[in-house]
Every structure is written in C-alpha cells, then in structure tokens.
C-alpha cells in the first residue's frame, strides 16, 4: 500500500522552479532515497510532503491525507529529521523531547515511555539530563532522530541525515536508520551520499533541477544506465588464439595478456557455454567474476548528462 503518493507536484519560488512535476509513490515498508546534487529540490520535496510548504501545483497525499487540505493531520503522522538538527542548546535532552512530544499531543505517561524506549534504543539514555549544547554531532543527530520518531510516525523523512558528520558518527546514524525499516512505515531519505543510498534504500530516485531523471532499485539503475553486467575472465596462460572461440557469444570490452572483460545478454546462459568452449580449447581458467559497478558511475553519468 502506498503511503506517499505525488502527482505532478511542483514548487516555484518566484520564477525559480525548485520541484518540477514530480510523480512518485512509496509503499509501506519501503525506503526510497532521493539522490541528487545540492539544490536539486530534495529538501523542497520533503517540505511539501511534510505539509511545511504548499505546492504551487500538483497534488500529494501522505498516509491518506492531502498535504494541503489536511496539513495538520499530515504533520501528525510524519516525522522529519531536518538537515540540521536544530536543537535548543540550553535544554536538556529529555526536556527537549518532552517539549516536542507535547506538541505532537502525546500524554505525559506515553511520552515518558517513548522517550525512554527510544533513548535506550539509540544508546542515549545515560545522557538524558545533559544539555544538548554539550552533545557531540552524532549525539545531536540521534536526538533529532528520536524527536522525529517520538510519535511513531507512519512516514519518515530524513533530510541529509549524515551530512557534515565524521565517519564514525555517520555510521552510527546509518545503523540507526537501518533499524527503522518497518512494515508499517515508509521512509524517504534525501542524500547525496551514494553509499548511504545504496546500502539503505530499496529504490533510488535521482533528482536533478527539480525533476526525477531516474527511478528504480540500485541493480535496475545500474543495468539501465551502465548496460549488461561486465564480466572478467582470467586465465593461467596467454589469451592468444582463444578469443575466436568466444567472440560469437559475447561482446569483448577490454583485454590484456591473460584476461578479458566482456558483456553478455544473458550471462546465466552464456557463461556455461563459454567455459565449456574454452575448456575444450585447453584453456586454464583461473577466475570468472562480475566487475563491480558502483552507483557513483550511474549517478555521475545521469547527472552529467
């Protein structure tokens, strides 16, 4: 069931079009990564879906509520982790979370229960009475994440959750996000971190100048944009004279003295035939493997185009 659905969603600031006719849907239990360079329209999209900004045109509904007509209800079922934690540094963590819990309409016993549960889950319980100004960057981001999760939202928007963080803190937050996957929740993760998108997201939407230019699972995107998988064959002897035996089966991309890289339409069918033919020719096969292709290649190709 789709928890987030948009239809030709557009946002203009004066003459500048931040988001252009965006149409997508995100199911319950799914994490969708919005991937794109700075200023691509990721944050504006999330702000519209969180009923913070009104779309200029188009429509969107979140958990069954219209983002314009039912703005207040939308904000009640959405959790937003903003790019900057935006904490009140003079407050203690628990008071801060109580404040947001109260605004979300949680009664005190429920708030206390949720705060303890989430702070323990993210390893923050020991620091609950500490002032937020004394927290490290990673801890602050975790508190912001707890703030977004306090009311157990059906939809979670994570805007650049690990930007400007050191690798250790970023990993901490990424692990926490991975734990948030649940059957009743849809998550949109805005990032320009490709590893983060690839490891956390079920699907990736690449967004540029406010428009979605590619959408799919990471393998789908790779296949669509980088072509069939690239395979590498390494032999224990020189390649001389062996290539004619396989040239009709595959497309040779690169070759060296003892190795060759090729693409095949259907590697599952082609590779056994290829190995058999080479064996018949007396080839000594050392390895046959797929050359790993990063999402970075996909992203750069799309964005540069």
């Amino acid at each position: 069931m789709a928890l987030i659905r948009t239809e030709r969603l557009t946002k203009k600031f004066g003459e500048f079009v931040a988001v252009r006719e965006l149409t997508l849907s995100v199911d319950a239990g799914e994490i969708l990564a919005l991937l794109g360079p700075n200023g691509a329209g990721k944050t504006t999209t999330v702000r519209m879906l969180g009923s913070i900004l009104k779309p200029t045109s188009g429509r969107a509904d979140v958990a069954g509520y219209d983002v314009v007509g039912d703005a207040r209800k939308v904000r009640g079922v959405v959790g937003l982790l903003t790019e900057f934690p935006g904490l009140y540094h003079r407050m203690q963590a628990d008071s801060y979370l109580h404040f947001f819990g109260e605004l979300q309409g949680l009664p005190r016993p429920k708030r206390e229960e949720r705060i303890e549960e989430l702070m323990r889950r993210f390893g923050m319980w020991h620091a609950r009475h500490q002032r937020l100004g004394e927290y490290s960057k990673g801890m602050r981001q975790k508190v912001a994440l707890i703030r977004a999760l306090l009311h157990d939202p059906q939809v979670l928007f994570l805007d650049e959750p690990t930007s400007a963080m050191d690798p250790q803190s970023a990993k901490m937050v990424r692990d926490a996000i991975a734990e948030l996957r649940s059957s009743h929740r849809a998550v949109i993760l805005c990032t320009h971190n490709l590893v983060e998108a690839e490891t956390l997201a079920d699907r990736i939407a690449i967004i540029k100048e406010g428009r979605i230019i590619a959408l799919g699972t990471p393998p789908e995107l790779k296949r669509e944009l980088l072509g069939n998988p690239l395979l590498e064959l390494r032999l224990g002897q020189p390649l001389d004279g062996l290539l004619p035996a396989i040239e009709d089966l595959v497309t040779i991309e690169e070759k060296g003295d003892t190795w060759v890289r090729y693409r095949a339409q259907e590697p599952g069918d082609t590779n056994p035939v290829l190995v058999r033919r080479l064996a018949e020719e007396g080839a000594n096969i050392v390895t046959l493997s797929e050359v790993s292709r990063s999402l970075e290649e996909v992203y750069l190709r799309i964005v540069e185009e």
């Binding site: 203009k12 600031f13 004066g14 003459e15 702000r47 969180g50 913070i52 900004l53 009104k54 200029t56 207040r72 209800k73 904000r75 009640g76 959405v78 937003l80 903003t82 900057f84 935006g86 904490l87 009140y88 003079r90 407050m91 404040f99 947001f100 109260e102 605004l103 979300q104 309409g105 912001a144 703030r147």
Partner: protein, 488 residues
C-alpha cells in the same frame, strides 16, 4: 489554539530565564532602577522646596513622578524587542524553526506562543518596577500617585511592549539573521524614542486626555501589527527566504509582470506571458477593474473627505468670523487674480502652476505613504477639506447660501479635482496597507510592487488627466462662475 501556544511560550520563557544576558539587565532595571528613581524624586522635591518653590513643590512632584513612572516602566519592556528578535529570527538563524514547523502546530499558534513569550517577562518586570517605585514613593515621601495616572502608565507600557514585539515580528520576517534584524529594528526604535519624547512632554504638561488618546492609537497600531504579523509569519515565508538579498533585476521583472497583468487576474508566480498591454486595454479593462477592486479604500477616503468638510463646518460654528471680514458680494476679477501670488506657498494663477502644485502635493503624500502606512496622503487631504467646510460654514453665517458657495467656488474645478484626489489617496492608502496585509500567495515585496503598479496606472491614466482638467477649469471657468454669482 491556546494550549499549543502556551507550550511554546513556556519553553521560550524558560529558555530566556536561562540566558544571563537577558535576566541580568532585567533584574537590575527592575530592582535597582526604581529605587534610584525613588531617591531622585525625593531629592528633586527637596531641591524644589529648598529653592523656594514652596507650594509649587507639590506641582513639581506631580509632573516629575508620572514621568519617572513611565521611565521605570519602559526600561524593562525595552528588552521585549531584543527577546522578540531573538525568538523569531534567532530561531530561524539557528535553524531550529524547521522541526517546530513540522509539528501539528498552526502558524497562528506559533506566532501567539512567541508573541507571549517575548512579552510576558519584560512586561512583568516592568509592572514589578512600577509597583516598586510606587511603594518606594509611598514609603519615602508623602506624594501619592493617582490611580488614574498609574493605570494610564500601565496601559501605555503594555501597549508599547506589544508595538515593539509585534513590530519585531514584521522586521524579523524580512531578514534571515539577528544581525540584519537588529539593523532593521531602528524602524521600531526611532519611532518609539519619538513616542516616548511626546509622552514625556504630555506628562510634564499634565495632559492625560491626550495620553489616553495615544493609548487608543497605540492599541490600534498593536492590532494592525499583530494582524500583519499573523499574515506574514507563516511556514511559506519563513522557509522560502534564504538570503537578505536586494535583487533589483528580479524585483523589476516582477513589477513588469504585475504591471502587464489585467488587475482581476494577477497571478504569482508567473505562469505564462501576460496579455498584450495597450492603451485601449488599460482604459477599457484595467481602470474599471481597479476601481471595482479598490471600492473599499475609495469609499473610506470619500467618507473621510466628507467628514473633514463636516468638521470644518463645525469649526465655523465654533469660531465665526467677524461680519464684514470677507465681502463676497464685492469680489472682482482684479481682486481674485491679485490675491493669490501674495501667499508664497500657493501656485501662480495659471493652469500649469496649479496643475504642478496639485501634482506635487499628491506626490508628497504618496512619497510619505510607506512611512505612514498610507496615513500621510489622507492627512494631507484633510486640511483643504476642513477649509472648504469651514468657509462654507462661514458663508452661512454671512447670510449667504453655503450651497451656492460650494457650487461657485468648488464645483466647477472640484468636479475633476476631488475625484482625482480621492483616487490618488485611496490607492496610496492601499499602497500603505499592502505592507501590512499582502494578498494571499504574495510576499510583502510582491504586494508592495502590485500596489505601486496599480497606483501608477490610476495616477497616470486618471488622476493626472483629471488634475489637468481641474487646473484649466480653476483658471478659466471657476472665476467666471464666481463672478456670475458673487461679482461686484
């Protein structure tokens, strides 16, 4: 609505109480300053007696104490401006506003919560200071402040606090940093300083009726500013403004677009080219639509104009001119032409001079519109209308027909001039209001640009031609009509 607002108020007040930069001066001004003022007042009274003021010492205290009371009350509330700027724009600058905006709190609740939190602490401190001063005076002198003055000062202090906080919201909405907001805050500080000086003079003068009237005016300004604040303090405005940039080319493009649009179908952001702009279109569609769209300010200005004339008439009853001072029956064309250049502020008696003069007066009113929220042109219009009413009334005393006076002296050129003045004033009023209440979907700058565009259209297409006709009529027709009815 109040519960969410109060949650925000409570948090912000706690935050303010944790900030020594706010708490320390408030405590000093609340506890120490009233004590100092008590001592100063006592000393002043003693000095007055020692210098032989005798019975007048009491009068001196009667003038000095209310002034001191006002100062004691004002100093703590001056912090409300700082707290408000910090609360509204500081939160935006620290980027802690977005999490707040993502909760189910409405814009109005957020505004109210912040307004209260910015005011409560300084206003309470101010009340406490006033009470301390009051008690101190009772303890160390035999002078007792009248309860009327006490209430007046409390009311004025509260109204001033609201002006500063509500004004701070308007200022904050136009900036993204506390630094820029502090710079813009001079738009609040300077008028407040002037207001205090006027209040001080009135308190020394002992004119409490005028001070009560000022409290009413302040209340109206409060309501206006709160309304403006509620209109412009919204999620869209708070998150759309990224830079304090004065982008002249973008403003010019927006202005051109707004000018080119047919008034009834102005849309922003621009979603296509506007209809072709022709003189025919301007006269057949734009002008009628503008007149229809701006019915309310036109009616308001007309009513004010008629009220001013009625006010002038009443003045004539109060201050009748001695009989024979003006001889309406003996007017000659020589008198008429010769008398005008004697008054230096009046134009020469020819169409060009009158046209330029009228244009200049309306221009001054329009130029002063942004600073007066549209009140300046209205006030400029009041003076001549009061005079017209006054002279019509005086004519009645002289046994002549006021109607005939108006018909002869005003109507021949007034039939063109009065509509021109009403239109220019009404569209200026709307220009002033555009700052306070932008139309839905418009930012303040877009709203101002739209009202300027409408004002220019009306001014050039209607007001100027009407003023020209009025000037010609005033020189060539009005004297003939006057001579016909009143000529000697």
């Amino acid at each position: 609505m109040l519960s969410h607002a109060l949650i925000i108020t409570r948090r912000e007040m706690r935050d303010s109480l944790r900030d020594w930069r706010i708490v320390t001066p408030i405590i000093l001004l609340t506890l120490i300053f009233p004590a100092l003022m008590t001592v100063t007042s006592g000393l002043a009274a003693e000095v007055a007696v020692a210098w032989g003021a005798g019975q007048n010492a009491r009068v001196i205290m009667g003038r000095l104490v209310p002034f001191s009371l006002m100062i004691v009350g004002f100093f703590p509330i001056s912090f409300s401006l700082v707290i408000a700027l910090e609360s509204f724009v500081g939160e935006r600058e620290r980027r802690s506003i977005e999490p707040l905006l993502s909760t189910p709190v409405s814009d109005g609740e957020l505004y109210l919560g912040k307004l209260l939190s910015s005011m409560i602490l300084p206003v309470l401190a101010s009340y406490l200071g006033i009470v301390m001063y009051y008690v101190g005076l009772m303890m160390y002198s035999d002078y007792v402040i009248s309860s009327t003055v006490l209430v007046l000062i409390l009311v004025l202090t509260t109204m001033e606090a609201v002006v500063m906080v509500a004004g701070a919201v308007v200022v904050s909405s136009q900036t993204t940093s506390v630094r820029a907001a502090n710079l813009l805050a001079s738009f609040i500080i300077i008028p407040m300083a002037l207001l205090l000086q006027v209040e001080a003079v009135l308190l020394f003068w002992g004119d409490y009726e005028v001070l009560w009237a000022m409290a009413v005016v302040l209340l109206m300004i409060d309501l206006m500013l709160i309304r403006t604040g509620m209109r412009i303090f919204n999620r869209e405005e708070l998150l759309s403004r990224e830079f304090d940039e004065f982008n002249v080319p973008a403003l010019w493009r927006t202005f051109k677009h707004l000018f080119a649009c047919v008034p009834a179908s102005v849309r922003l952001p621009r979603d296509g080219p506007a209809e072709r702009l022709t003189v025919k279109r301007l006269y057949t569609r734009d002008v009628p639509q503008l007149l229809s769209l701006q019915k309310v300010p036109i009616v308001i200005v007309t009513v004010v104009m008629l009220a001013a004339m009625a006010g002038g008439w009443l003045f004539a009853f109060r201050y009748p001119l001695p009989a024979g001072l003006i001889d309406f029956q003996g007017i000659t064309d020589v008198d008429f032409a010769a008398s005008v250049p004697d008054a230096g502020f009046l134009p020469g008696f020819d169409p060009r001079s009158i046209f330029v003069h009228n244009l200049r007066v309306l221009g001054i009113g329009i130029a002063a519109t942004p600073l007066s929220f549209g009140a300046a042109p209205l006030l400029l219009m009041l003076a001549p209308m009061l005079l017209v009413g006054f002279f019509a009334g005086e004519v009645g005393f002289l046994g002549l027909s006021p109607l005939l006076f108006l018909l002869a002296f005003i109507l021949p050129h007034g039939i063109f001039e009065l509509p021109a003045v009403v239109l220019a004033t009404a569209f200026s009023l709307r220009f002033g209001a555009s700052i306070m209440s932008p139309p839905s979907g418009f930012t303040i700058s877009e709203s101002v640009l739209l009202s300027i565009s409408d004002l220019i259209k009306i001014f050039v297409l209607l007001v100027m031609p009407l003023l020209f006709l009025a000037a010609v009529a005033e020189v060539h027709i009005t004297p003939l009509v006057i001579m016909h009815f009143f000529g000697g």
